[in-house]
């Protein structure tokens, strides 16, 4: 008995060494990636602890964490900070409206393209609607400014027709609708691709069976196509819920002309712009420790949201991601 055990142990280490030796080239190939993720992802993850310090740039991340620990003080400060809760509220509103709108528009565009029967036009539509995804927010924001700004484009057209200008960039509500339309304009076509691909994979037997039962096209969409993309849709929704607190810094930064549009910044101030503006931007008002505390708060909520949605999806009988 003892002999057998010793033999097994020896053969295990021997096997491990052999596996290590045979893996050596693959390990060589993975080393850059390990260094990359350690430096650019894990050091900032550790660095988030500066949220509990009175951060000093001269001492750096490690020095501040070991010498200037102040516990929860930064959190006490940000929860009482007058700009924090409005920004939090805006983030939740903008983030969740965006998730719903982009989900609905993507599925809708996919359904329409899937039902379209003209092949040439189909190709043309697909190329056209996916194109804006590849433009930067700098370009898209410039385009929208040219179209809806006061000096040219559609707002000028409205002014000429009604005698009164509609100031899209001068009113929080109109500006928000502009933010949402820009998001749909840029991403709906591209996000629809994944649904179109899923629809192409639905078995034609199901459609034939529906034909025999005398289903109309709307009935086929409702009873065959939509259930066919349900799993994909749930997966993508879970993925997007984690980003609800990220509501789109690049878009808002650019569409508010780098925050220089004071008429609307209050209604689109989100957590990310608050962090950027308060610490690195023009309106210095937060210390690095306080900004990091806001960042940590945001990361934790995002992470919790992913886990909760994943659990809910699993309870509803869908395949989750974790």
């Amino acid at each position: 008995m003892e002999k057998v055990l010793i033999k097994q142990k020896k053969s295990f280490t021997y096997g491990f060494k052999r596996r290590l030796a045979s893996s050596r080239f693959l390990i060589m190939m993975i080393i850059p990636a390990v260094i990359f993720y350690a430096v650019f992802n894990y050091i900032p993850m550790y660095g988030i602890l500066i949220a509990f310090t009175e951060y000093s740039p001269t001492q750096g991340i490690i020095g501040s964490i070991s010498n200037r620990w102040i516990g929860w003080e930064n959190f006490d400060f940000i929860f009482k900070y007058p700009n924090f809760w409005p920004a939090f509220k805006n983030t939740i509103i903008i983030g969740s409206v965006k998730i719903v709108i982009s989900f609905v528009s993507a599925v809708l565009v996919a359904l329409l393209i899937n039902e379209l029967r003209m092949r040439f036009f189909k190709k043309f539509v697909q190329i056209t609607v996916t194109f804006p995804h590849f433009l930067s927010w700098v370009v898209v924001a410039s385009l929208f400014l040219m179209m809806f700004g006061q000096t040219s484009g559609i707002s000028k057209l409205i002014e000429q027709a009604t005698g009164q200008g509609l100031r899209f960039y001068g009113n929080g509500k109109w500006f928000l609708s502009l933010i949402f339309s820009a998001d749909v304009w840029k991403e709906a076509g591209w996000s629809s691709i994944i649904y179109i691909a899923t629809m192409a994979g639905i078995s034609t037997d199901l459609y034939e069976a529906a034909n025999i039962d005398g289903a109309t096209r709307l009935q086929k969409i409702w009873h065959v196509t939509l259930p066919g993309i349900k799993a994909t849709a749930v997966l993508l929704l879970i993925m997007s819920v984690g980003g609800v607190l990220s509501a789109g810094f690049e878009q808002i930064y650019n569409m508010t002309s780098r925050f220089n549009n004071f008429l609307v910044v209050d209604s689109v101030e989100i957590i990310d712009t608050l962090i950027y503006q308060g610490t690195l931007g023009q309106f210095d008002g937060l210390s690095k420790g306080e900004s990091a505390a806001i960042g940590l708060f945001k990361s934790l909520i995002g992470f919790a949201l992913v886990i909760v949605t994943d659990r809910i999806a699993k309870l509803c009988g869908e395949r989750g991601i974790i």
Partner: protein
């Protein structure tokens, strides 16, 4: 007899003819909705171009014009004369070629290593990468890290932190994993090591996916501005997108305008925007299938 057969065959192959298979009102509605959507995407580019070539005397009287009777390319001449634009283009081209190659190298080797089975440490590395998809440190620690590394105000800040893109890396990994594993086994029997197998067998077989990933990186580099905005304050490191931002958002256009009487600021701004997107517009229709293939393969298996 033969005649009857010929008539019957096409019918039998077709779906059962019914009201739902005729081209009807439903199709017309779909066509119109999609036409409106496609129009809303094309129209801004068209309007942009028209305004960019309209001389001032026509534009001031009619700023919502859809057609100009007189064409003037002075706005483009003004843009081309501006050293800022060429400086931005130079930086962007460096990112486009240098940055893309650098990102491809690290992303592809990582994807390959993670596509192979049963090597020591694979699960550890995979989990290490997956965690970063759901949790991150946020802006401030990242900013402090980049400062500590001494990267601000260098071109490296726009290249080095982008070495591996997790989405593109998983795309490559899924593609390598889908190739038959006999390729690797037979090469191993012939005495090839993993690096030789990767370079001589798997890379040549992966050209379509390499093109896809390369194009994603190239577009990202062409559009690069975020890291530049955060870290680079000096004028001569601005990317084309940053220069465009300056041109569009500065109230009276930062581009000095020697022909102030002949063209408007709007024309110059629109010419600058058009200059930035024209390469994409020219290439995109031909490259669209690569992008689409990438996201479809990546999403279905990932």
């Amino acid at each position: 007899m033969a005649k009857i057969k010929l008539e019957k065959l096409p019918l039998a192959r077709r779906e059962k003819p019914g009201p739902s298979n005729r081209f009807g009102a439903f199709d017309v509605v779909i066509f119109i909705i999609l036409l409106v959507f496609a129009f809303s995407i094309i129209f801004p580019f068209y309007y942009l171009f028209v305004v960019s070539v309209t001389p001032q005397e026509i534009y001031v009287n009619n700023p919502t014009l859809l057609w100009t009777p007189k064409v003037s390319f002075e706005a483009y001449e003004t843009v081309f004369k501006e050293p800022q634009i060429w400086g931005g283009l130079k930086i962007t081209l460096i990112l486009l070629f240098g940055g893309t190659l650098y990102q491809m190298f690290f992303t592809v080797i990582t994807g390959y290593a993670l596509s192979r089975k049963n090597w020591v440490g694979k699960n550890f590395v995979m989990n290490m990468i997956l965690v970063t998809m759901f949790f991150g440190g946020g802006l401030i620690p990242y900013y402090e890290l980049i400062v500590a590394l001494g990267m601000p105000d260098t071109i490296w800040v726009m290249i080095i932190p982008g070495a591996i893109d997790t989405f593109n890396m998983l795309l490559m990994r899924n593609y390598f994993a889908s190739l038959p594993k006999e390729l690797e086994e037979s090469a191993k029997i012939d005495g090839a090591n993993d690096i030789q197998i990767f370079v001589k067998i798997f890379l040549p077989l992966s050209l379509p996916m390499l093109a896809t990933v390369g194009l994603f990186f190239a577009v990202g580099n062409w559009n690069s501005w975020y890291n530049g905005m955060l870290f680079n304050k000096s004028q001569n490191l601005k990317t084309l997108q940053q220069v465009l931002q300056d041109v569009v958002y500065t109230p009276n256009s930062s581009i000095p305008n020697p022909n102030a009487r002949k063209i408007t600021t709007e024309s110059i701004k629109m010419a600058a925007i058009f200059f930035t997107i024209i390469p994409m517009m020219l290439f995109y229709p031909f490259l669209q299938r690569f992008f689409v293939k990438g996201i479809v393969v990546g999403a279905i298996k990932g």
